[in-house]
Amino acid sequence: MLDSKDVKTIGYVCKYTPIEVLAGFGDDTSFLLPEMASYDYADSRVWPSLCGYAKSVLERLRGAGYDAVVFTDCCDAMKRVRDVLAADAASNVPDVKPFILGLPRVTTDEAARSYSRNIVDFISGYERYSGRVFDAAAFLRACSDANDDSVRGGEGYVAVMGARAPRALMKSIGRFSSLPVRDLTCGSRERHFTDMPNIAGTYSDLYELMYRYARRLLSQAPCMRMNDIGARRSFTDDTRLKAVVYHTIQFCDFYGFEYAQMPREIPVLKVDTDFTAASSGQLVTRLQAFFESNGILDSGARNELSIRFEGKRGDKVMRHKYYAGIDSGSTSTNVVIINRDANIVAAVSVPSGANSADAARAALADALAEAGRTAGLCMTMEDMAAVVATGYGRASVPFTAENVTEITCHARGAHSLVPEARTVIDIGGQDSKVIRMKPNGGVMEFSMNDKCAAGTGRFLELMADTLELGIDEMAGTGLHPHKVVGISSMCAVFAESEVISLIAKGLRVEDIVWGVDLAIAGRVAGMAYRLGAEPPYIMTGGVAQNAGVVKALGEKLGERGGQSVGVIVPDVPQLCGALGAALIAREL
């Protein structure tokens, strides 16, 4: 038995890592899942387009806490992280010893032989590094202890698939899901060593032992870097699987391919993170909406998220005969008040400013005044049977019966305005969404972009500033272009400099604006294609008031069919979310 001060802490990054071998040296292992606040060091050592996980690992290993790290050549990014650490280790900064094992991408017998030779070489290297001798009995005990034969999921479960997920994300999923959560990502630590030799003491033939071990390691459900991924079908074939949260990491491309092929009959939510702590926090809206729309939102989480309106839900008195919906967006706060017959009696919009709660109060006060004028009454909060908040700032609105995501609210609002619509396209100030609806207005699937300005109202604002046009002026400018000018940059920042160069070339402003309209429409149409969106399309959100973007969207959505398609724009597109919230309030 080692003295505790001699026990080394070894990090690893891949589920195929022979961590039981390290137990054979008496050392502790830890799967690296660091969520860093910044990548200052990593960005100085590797090109920024490596995935956030790789950079997190590099950033984390610079700090204290790990004696060594064991990599496999699991992906190009991790190979390069190991290379940087090896170069740093050569100059003793940081003091972490990096090991790497070549991992086959196939699971043939030859491949297992090859991997077992690498493991044996690793054992030799680790003996030299640690000054200790490999203990086969301890290794076999670790294999036995690692077996995880518990029935996972019971009657039903939610799976997290795709790339390894940050701890904060796993925690949020656990909090929102009313079902057990199973980790089926590439960072899963489920192990099965069912037919390892049952012997005590030192095993005489190390190669044979490691061959058996390598076979077991390679027989795990394959991650996407393995060539044959047929066995991954067992994940989605399991009838106990009720829903999937599919995690991808920016700049890790493996899992986007599988996500595109996920069976339609399983509810799937795709979440994309860059492995920073902030990115996990931003996903709350989507997680809540997903679990909500699939009827598996944990009741505790629902209560925790809801801030009650004065009395309690159902605590209605006769006077309460109106319902309010508040859409607390990043740019504007919108309020709609409806009566018991679901007719709109007031609709107002105010700028959100810096404080969501203040903006909500002001908008509601304006709406009450307008509703009062409509009804010929002096209307107060007492007349509201229920208030529901939605939008980015919904959790900050203090006087609501419930808060519901804008995904659900936009679908509900859009359905009430255009019942035949099957797809909502919402382009807001900071994000854009595509929502496929059921015939009853429920959410079938949705996709959301909130990471990048391209494809949002912010993109239009940037371009309008560059062209020295007002945002309203820009809306009509591109409707009659003389020719098509491609805005080729996908990034808003680069697009700005591209527009400047087009101006410098003397191109007409109306042609450039049309190019901008097509660029934003192309981005959103791509999202719609990926979701399998179907017409009729309804466009909501502030950008729907921009006729140029609406026209461009019709062209882009119709490209596959060879002709432009119609995009329905309701009279008050920016109020659709608030209307949906009011309709939900009416059902409480």
Partner: protein, 431 residues
């Protein structure tokens, strides 16, 4: 509108609804380009360079014209085995370069993205997948890919194989550069031969294989001699030629035509071919630039600075410096396995760093440009380590990013500023 713009727009407008027509258009485009190059001296290209471009577009046209002999491959699929079976390899990266050259890559990139291919994925592979899914590429007889050198091979060829319903032959190249690894790959190449024989219904002609091997060995020998001369001479080069050489030096290796090209290239540099003399005899009048990774051949300022320059010699990309392994006629598959395992892009980045540093010294490079191609984690991840090593070897180095396939991915103005500033530094230091 120039003819290439017209071509790009016609392809982009039609491929979604008329993929077969578009395929025909692409073949026609290759044929026209091949004839145009053969008809007259279009600019300062050397004879070997004209032949190189003709060879490159011809190979694409042949591959698209004969689906029964078509093999979709990556850059490192063992070419000699394919040629010995009479197959036409169509390389993913090469095909996407042709699309980009015809200014029509954008539609296929978007098409791939609509089908879920991440936008952070290598644009060569993304455009290729888009073209396959859109029906531009005919169903192939074979799909052969190696795991090396980058991750994209696994996803791309798995996706393509599933689309066509064609079994992929996958060569797993180990990370470790050892004799065990060579043996492991050798056994896979034995399986590959059987796979090709089963698919074609006949045995591999040993004479055809030996001819391919001898062509490769002659090509390698000419390339060695060319590099030897390049070490002491300036050379007329241009950006697009480096890209064409990647195709010929990998997927066409083993053919009579590749052998002819490498011979002509050597003759050009020693000035024994007509037209080669006056442009190749300079001795270090130029600043000499090494290139690392692919080249964004369409960026106008880059072409203006480097193409046929009388100030700079674009020496070579490290992608054209990696196949210099002769094949032992008594152990053909073993030699080919060794070539795959020992390729300087395989394994740790230290191997590439050491090789490029040696290359810089051998070719007496004054400066180096490391191009970080969008989506290439394999190369970009090691960019700083490579730069540090080159600087330590007193080779001034610029890291510059962009996209060599997707024209949207490189801002020409910013590119020009960075490159020109680097060259100003380079010239100032040596003045």
């Amino acid at each position: 509108m120039d003819v290439v713009d017209f071509f790009g727009e016609t392809v982009s407008r039609n491929f979604r609804r008329h993929p077969r027509f578009t395929r025909g258009l692409l073949r026609l485009g290759c044929a026209v380009q091949q004839r145009r190059l053969g008809a007259k001296r279009v600019d300062a290209r050397l004879p070997s360079q004209i032949f190189l471009e003709q060879l490159s577009v011809r190979s694409m046209r042949m591959a698209l014209s004969q689906p029964s002999r078509l093999a979709l491959v990556n850059m490192f699929a063992p070419a000699e085995l394919l040629h010995a079976m009479g197959l036409h390899p169509l390389c993913a990266e090469g095909f996407s370069s042709i699309l980009s050259g015809g200014k029509c890559e954008r539609g296929f990139l978007d098409y791939a993205a609509e089908h879920g291919v991440p936008e952070t994925y290598c644009s060569y592979h993304r455009a290729f997948i888009g073209a396959v899914l859109a029906g531009l590429v005919p169903k192939p007889r074979f799909i052969v890919a190696s795991s090396s050198v980058c991750d994209a091979n696994t996803n791309t060829f798995r996706t393509v194989a599933a689309h066509y319903g064609v079994n992929e032959f996958y060569i797993d190249i180990p990370y470790e550069v050892t004799e065990d690894s060579v043996c492991y790959v050798r056994r896979q190449l034995e399986d590959m031969v059987r796979h090709l024989e089963d698919g074609m219904g006949h045995r591999m002609d040993k004479g055809a294989l030996m001819r391919a091997v001898r062509n490769t060995n002659a090509s390698v020998e000419y390339q060695r001699k060319f590099i030897g001369e390049l070490a002491s001479r300036d050379f007329t080069n241009y950006v697009a030629a480096e890209m064409h050489r990647i195709l010929v030096g990998h997927n066409l290796l083993g053919t009579d035509e590749a052998r002819t090209f490498f011979r002509m290239q050597y003759e050009d540099i020693i000035g024994s071919s007509s037209g080669g003399v006056e442009r190749c005899v300079g001795m270090h009048a130029h600043k000499r630039l090494l290139w690392c990774h692919v080249l964004p051949y369409y960026v106008e300022p880059l072409k203006e600075i480097l193409d046929f320059s009388d100030r700079y010699t674009l020496l070579m990309s490290d992608l054209n410096y990696d196949q210099q392994v002769s094949i032992d006629e008594t152990d053909i598959l073993g030699s080919m396995a060794r070539r795959l395992v020992t390729n300087h892009f395989n394994g740790s980045v230290e191997r590439r760093v050491a090789s490029v540093t040696r290359m810089a010294k051998k070719l007496r490079a004054d400066g180096a440009v490391i191009f970080c191609h969008w989506g290439c984690k394999h190369s970009n991840g090691g960019a700083f380590l490579l730069r540090n090593a080159l600087k330590a070897a007193e080779v001034d180095t610029l890291i510059i990013d962009g996209d060599a396939c997707d024209r949207r991915g490189t801002n020409a103005g910013q590119f020009a500023t960075r490159l020109q500033a680097f060259l100003e530094v380079l010239n100032g230091q040596s003045a």
